[in-house]
Symmetry: C2
Subunit: 332 residues, 2 copies
């Protein structure tokens, strides 16, 4: 089947669908729960306080430096659970495929998704496969949902004036890697997407419990979107210092050429964390001791003045407004 | 916003996305959990034995007699949970929209989805919205996932020789309604999709506990697909009697004209139920007393001889083989 392409019949519920699922999909996703191929997976969660999330992935291109749509679909949903202070457990994986898509490419995506799931310590337990006519989708779209056990009580409502804003690492890597690949710019090929399962890092922070007030990963809209969300509807504001925001030199170079602002670019393996001032030092230290947080930094704090503000390198202060639209479609 | 269309920026994570979610989506989905717009919803389930499922809906046309893609996306996932013997509780709702899609149509779909969720007694608690360029999707695709509390222990492994096969109502309605609408055949416009939340019916059957061995709703591939799945990998077989399979006259008429077999056509509001013989009578009676089961019937039984068999109206017996492909793409 390796050299074949997806036909409409692969989505029809007949023998072709059955073979695609049993011969191709179950070759990669090995959960004994999934293997039963029931209408719904039976899962056990020894806790009644759960996190539930979903995301559709329509990224273009589907393969990019540092990952592909399969890895992204697992990590993105794992990260949404991690940001809720949860231990991610079970993932659903639903695919919409364009007729004519190479099964070899599908296998590459499934393999990469399974590797990401394994690394993130989650199980893919249920899924669905649909096929649409050529020209009615763009290669492949994946929607994942996830369930996890909530361990921290995080919410916007817990953010207080004086809280410290931590950023877990460099920003802009994912967005720049995608644009570079999509436009075939050939800019510094060393720039890779940062797509990674953040639960591996957040689980090392669970011990700080109530000192952590809020976490969110800056995907679409970048860190400016998340910072605005944090204080949206409240009377507080946030100030961040440009000089403290970690960005790789090659990413800065690329964004200057492209004329885009890294503060607005999507990331897939970083998060912002709002913590109480007294514990910020030790939480930062914990983050930095993990590979996924080695470039973590304190980038700002929650202040009385409403709005989101940037203190520039030369000392000016200007507002960081949320844009109408990011201008980079299909970045995740 | 009513007369506007979806723009790429509506999927970018900026202000446009925020407005679409707050002004349009939250107008229909009113769950207080969803309203928090967190990365993941916090849900509570007072049970550790859960069902988890997902399905993508790519149906064409998106509006059809008896429903639309929104109602279908809720009912389909609710039904997958119901078939697992679960009480459906929480639903995720993820949308991929083609640029240029009318917001008015989106509202119609969301309204219908929310009505179905309300009827099915489930809450939409999380979601996602992505937009792709014109020509890169077909109007709208929806992926829903669901979580529910398992109340019955159902599995293929519990099916025994001598068990009775119940069908909850007439077959073929959904498939014929879709084809009629898609091909603009104008065949007997009284044929409507049967799309409905089956949990309303299955919850009346929970009291029969261990007498119910297996349930499955015959969507893609029709009842023949499900019957084959039931005995696939076992040495048992199933025989069903043509005269006992409930089909509406107008559906028979339409399938004759179209040259398709209703036994292979998708349904969205019916299910097959395998029960122990001694309790079949009272379970059938319970089903028939509910509006969604009023045409329920005993259609066959599990037998020693392997394979799936049809006893025709004139007394012949022939095998019901699973087809390579159903031949009707995008039926759900």
């Amino acid at each position: 089947m390796k050299h074949e392409t997806i036909r409409l019949g692969h989505g029809s519920g007949g023998l072709l669908t059955s073979r695609l699922v049993k011969d191709i999909i179950l070759k990669y996703f090995k959960s004994p729960v999934l293997k039963r191929l029931e209408d719904a997976a039976q899962i056990t969660l020894k806790n009644t306080n759960l996190a539930f999330t979903t995301d559709s992935y329509v990224i273009d291109p589907i393969f990019f430096p540092g990952g592909d749509i399969g890895k992204l679909a697992i990590c993105g949903t794992v990260n949404d659970l991690a940001m809720k202070g949860a231990i991610p457990k079970y993932i659903s994986f639903s695919i919409i495929i364009e007729e004519g898509f190479a099964i070899k490419k599908l296998e590459r995506i499934l393999k990469s998704a399974e590797q990401a799931a394994h690394k993130a310590e989650v199980q893919v337990v249920c899924g669905d496969t649909k096929v649409v006519e050529k020209g009615k989708a763009d290669n492949i779209f994946i929607t994942t949902s996830g369930v996890g056990i909530i361990k921290l009580n995080l919410s916007k409502q817990r953010i207080r004036i004086g809280d410290i804003i931590l950023l877990s690492g460099t920003i802009g890597d994912h967005g720049v890697a995608i644009i570079n690949e999509r436009l075939n710019l050939g800019l510094r090929s060393s720039i890779k997407s940062d797509v990674a399962p953040l639960n591996l890092l957040t689980k090392t922070l669970l011990k700080y419990k109530s000192s952590i007030h809020f976490m969110r990963d800056p995907t679409r809209g970048g860190i400016v979107s998340v910072l605005n969300e944090m204080v949206d509807g409240s009377k507080m504001g946030i100030i961040i210092r440009e000089k403290d925001v970690p960005i790789k030199k090659e990413v800065i170079g690329a964004t200057e050429i492209l004329g885009i602002d890294p503060l607005y670019i999507a990331n897939e393996g970083k998060f912002l964390c709002v913590v109480e001032k007294a514990s910020a030092g030790k939480i930062l230290k914990s983050m930095k001791s993990h590979i996924l947080g080695k470039n973590a930094a304190v980038i700002g704090e929650v202040v009385k003045e409403s709005g989101v503000w940037l203190e520039t390198k030369i000392g000016g202060i200007h507002p960081l407004l949320q844009l109408e639209a990011e201008g980079l479609p299909r970045i995740c």
